[in-house]
Symmetry: C2
Subunit: 181 residues, 2 copies
Amino acid sequence: MTDDADLSDLLTLRLGYLVKHAYLQLAAFLGDALEPFGVHPRELGVLSVIAADGAERSQNELASAIGMDRTTMVAVIDDLEDRGLVERHRSPRDRRRNVVTLTEAGAACLRNAEQARAEAERAYLAPLDEDAAQALADTLRTLYEAHAGTHAGSARAHPVQGPGAAACALPAREAGGARGK
Amino acid sequence: MTDDADLSDLLTLRLGYLVKHAYLQLAAFLGDALEPFGVHPRELGVLSVIAADGAERSQNELASAIGMDRTTMVAVIDDLEDRGLVERHRSPRDRRRNVVTLTEAGAACLRNAEQARAEAERAYLAPLDEDAAQALADTLRTLYEAHAGTHAGSARAHPVQGPGAAACALPAREAGGARGK
DNA sequence: TATTGTTATACTCTATAACTATA
DNA sequence: TATAGTTATAGAGTATAACAATA
């Protein structure tokens, strides 16, 4: 490495780089914090939503509330059910629906893991003073709400073909291209 | 959907959810903006680093500067080379090294795509006033530098079973677990 | 022995299509 | 016909191990 400082400096000026690594770093914090409880961050989110209110939630409702695909939710519920944290019940009023409820163990796991999650978030935000941490949360929420629905089908909002696009108009990427050794 | 408002509200209070979706939404903005130029955000980062200074960069140096695995860099350079945007040269001083340089087309692509990237970032930050946008960048950079190296090998499987884990201490997750019916 | 580029492999996460049973 | 759950599959993205050439 000759002078990596310049190069990484260049990249940390990029918003995309910073946001991606914020996501990766926070995911590492959360994953480590939840590891003793045997749940993934995504699973904890599912448990939280199930416990959120008294209404009985079907798998489909859970999936759409979390922004998870309903086919992915099947496997998540499978895992949680195998570990005895949730139960599936056929809804008697609409026998297509699987109502998902917390077991005793699931409720206990939720309580403990939620505490660990909150601690992990605090640890991640520790380098910031309280105002900056609050401002970050507010800002992220503003952005989330303003752009909600943007990444559903990633190629939608910007269909425009900017001028000068011909500069890179070479053969589109293929799967297994020939290598130059 | 009975009352999704409550549920999504619950999730937007979670930092992990907000950061993840900030990443996904910004990635969608960047991906759409760069699509006319036929480059992915990751590839644009590689082009930028190559052009960053006069020093000749090997694949290994590019990879470590960007935080990309060196085996991943091989495929990225393959693609860029197939499209005529970069060239590989064997370094005469150390014949193990592949020095990567921009072609004329690569430099032109970089210029145009960089402009599109900057516009996409501005569009993403548009819901914020200037102070909030600047504060966000500063905060993200502070967090990145404070936690640098955190997500190297942190979030993986769940081998350890820590204290207080008894609440969820049921069978660990398997690959193709048997499903309930 | 260590390093660079490379290949092969595997694992995670996600997205799509199709099937079933219900409505 | 439409919807909920399910299954199978495929595509990204990433990580690891091993190998050849070179130092």
